[in-house]
């Protein structure tokens, strides 16, 4: 795409989209959002970037191969599910540690395996969608 408006606008859009995708990721679990939708928005950010500057530059900006990101994400998600083995609970049972309270309402924040799982999903979706998108852009 050779529109200068799009190329200039893409700079702002990409940054905004990416921040929004991270926001969606962190907002998940208790509110609408989460790893899947976050990963999709993150992938959109890179796709906009590659439409504006070409897939080669988008790949350089990603630094790692999208397939690798997806596979690492799968590993992280699986590992997060496996954490519950140490607590004697079935696979994927969320493990929560509340800081400054004992529930969602009272605690300041929590350390939990669910967010780690969501990060894994985020990476799987980001990597999966981008590997498809880059393959398509190279074809055309």
């Amino acid at each position: 795409m050779n529109s200068i408006i799009f190329t200039a606008g893409a700079r702002i859009l990409v940054a905004l989209l990416f921040v929004f995708s991270l926001f969606m990721l962190l907002r998940g679990h208790h509110l609408p959002g989460g790893g899947f939708i976050g990963g999709l928005i993150g992938a959109v950010a890179f796709i906009v970037y590659s439409l504006a500057r070409g897939p080669a530059e988008a790949k350089a900006a990603l630094r790692l191969s999208p397939e690798g990101i997806g596979m690492v994400g799968l590993g992280i998600a699986l590992a997060a599910g496996m954490v519950s083995i140490f607590f004697g609970a079935p696979l994927f049972t969320g493990q929560w540690y509340w800081v400054g309270g004992d529930s969602y309402e009272t605690a300041l924040f929590s350390i939990n395996s669910v967010l780690v799982f969501d990060i894994g999903v985020y990476l799987v979706v980001l990597g999966g969608i981008l590997s498809l998108a880059f393959a398509f852009e190279e074809e055309t």
């Binding site: 004697g88 696979l91 994927f92």
Partner: protein, 500 residues
């Protein structure tokens, strides 16, 4: 901690896939894959022990009680499929050490392979219909990847047909799931068993049942939905086609067996009657299709179809004996069919081609391979005392007990035609001299490649012989599996009552 017994056969291949992908550029990747396959087998045998001990094992993932959470459940049928998947996985992982070139390994062969195994295992263990759909997708994506890996023209052609037709099947399946959820409000299979019976409009249930039959039927490759199978199975590497031939269609058969014994049993006279004639047509068309082929793997591919007919027939006749035969047939067929494809790979390696008109002389040059071909080939045709004899015997006996003489005749006639195809391969690939005057001795391939390819063939052939000579424990196992299928109350109470 039974829940972890159920999780491990799925989690191990997934973890192996991740590691194998990350180190795909080093030779260590293939050994990671091999180690993963060994661990999977250990995990499945541990699960088998638990099932033998308790009958049915179930667990709720994430600790959400059924019918809301995702249930993993293993009864006799489920667990034997998991074990046989792990065995086939291990056999082909060893085979791949010899066959798969480094170029494909660097493209991520082992990761895709392990993901496929995880998908197949997941489909056998899940107790939730939507989850079953997810496993079907995992299988479809990874098998498509394996099919086109390497990217030759024939492979892409086969891959497109394969994926397009399988997507149609998934679409029908998914629509069926949607409708079923709309009618009953649950997707947990054990919960469905009760919920479906309470629905007033049983006609609607039968319609949904037919959608499932079509969806699973495409996956299983029954008449008239099988045409994607012979169009694609002869193109990928032999290790891949052995896994496909052994496992993929059987997931469809398993899903049919599960749904049409547990959930859709309201109108057996209608649904299972259709299945009987579908099975008969599947057997006949498959075996006749094979007679017209001259490519090693294409003949075998058509035989998969004809053999699928026997398994669905076991389900369709719907008596304890028939279901027992069906389960026995499933297990026997996976071992035998995977082995035949592996033999085809070695034959290609030594004689240079898979077209039967362009090879020959294998009997004279490598009698050992010929002997190893005879075992699964005759077992497939149902020669006593090999495993296939008992499988066919049970099915035919069940048909005769129901006075279904036509069906029994078709089953026996198809067995006869199977011998015809097997002797055709025998005559052309093994007996006649090589048309190019080559002497296809084993040392035409380096031992580094040939030895890992021979090990699984020997192992699987040995299993066929063992099942053939000592069928008693296997038949007993299949009998209990059939009892559990016909009376799913144990399954239902275990799933709905399963806690941690």
């Amino acid at each position: 901690m039974t829940s972890w017994l159920l999780v491990m056969p799925i989690a191990v291949p997934f973890a192996t896939a991740v590691i194998a992908y990350l180190i795909r550029h080093s030779v260590a990747g293939r050994y990671v894959s091999l180690a993963g396959s060994v661990l999977s087998l250990v995990a499945s045998i541990a699960l088998l022990m638990a099932v033998l001990d308790q009958g049915v094992v179930a667990a709720q993932m994430s600790n959400w009680d059924a019918p809301f959470g995702i249930t993993l459940v293993a009864d006799y049928l489920g667990v034997v499929m998991v074990v046989i998947t792990a065995i086939t996985g291990l056999a082909t992982a060893i085979y791949a050490l010899g066959e798969i070139p480094e170029r494909l390994e660097k493209l991520g062969y082992h990761a895709l392979f392990q993901t496929l195994i995880a998908g197949v295992t997941g489909a056998f263990l899940t107790g939730d219909l939507f989850n079953l759909y997810v496993w079907f997708e995992v299988m479809l994506i990874s098998s498509f990847g394996l099919l086109v890996l390497g990217g030759t023209r024939e492979q892409l052609d086969a891959g497109i047909k394969y994926v397009a037709l399988n997507l149609v099947s998934t679409l029908v399946f998914l629509s069926g799931i949607g409708l079923l959820y709309g009618v009953t409000g649950t997707l947990n299979m054990a919960d469905l068993a009760g919920a479906v019976a309470e629905v007033e409009d049983q006609g609607l249930i039968t319609v949904i049942a037919m959608m499932f039959m079509v969806g699973f039927g495409v996956k299983a490759g029954v008449f008239p939905l099988f045409f994607w199978l012979p169009a694609s199975y002869h193109t990928p590497s032999f290790a891949v086609s052995a896994v496909f031939a052994g496992l993929l269609t059987k997931v469809g058969v398993y899903a049919l067996m599960r749904m049409f014994t547990l959930v859709f049993v309201g109108d057996v006279g209608f649904t299972h009657e259709i299945l009987i004639w579908v099975s008969a047509a599947t057997m006949l068309v498959g075996v006749l299709g094979a007679a017209a082929q001259s490519d090693f793997r294409k003949i075998l591919s058509f035989h998969i179809i004809s053999q699928i007919g026997y398994m669905t027939l076991g389900l369709a006749l719907y008596t304890p004996l028939a279901l027992m035969g069906g389960v026995f047939y499933l297990v026997h067929h996976i071992i035998v069919k995977a082995n035949l494809f592996l033999v085809a790979g070695v034959a290609r390696l030594q004689a240079g081609h898979t077209d039967l008109y362009r090879i020959g002389g294998l009997y004279k040059s490598s009698p050992f391979l010929a002997a190893l071909f005879i075992v699964p080939a005759f077992s497939l045709a149902g020669f006593p005392p090999l495993s296939g004899f008992w499988a066919k015997y049970l099915i035919v006996k069940a048909a005769i007990e129901l006075d279904a003489w036509v069906i029994a005749f078709v089953a026996l006639f198809v067995g006869l035609l199977t011998i015809f195809s097997m002797t055709k391969i025998w005559g052309m690939a093994f007996w006649k001299p090589h048309p190019d005057g080559i002497d296809p001795t084993p040392d035409r391939a380096p031992a580094r490649i040939r030895v890992p390819m021979m090990i699984p063939i020997v192992g699987l052939a040995a299993m066929t012989v063992v099942i053939g000579f000592f069928p008693e424990p296997f038949v007993q196992f299949a009998e209990i599996a059939a009892m559990q299928l016909l009376d799913p109350s144990d399954y239902v109470t275990t799933v709905l009552g399963a806690q941690r």
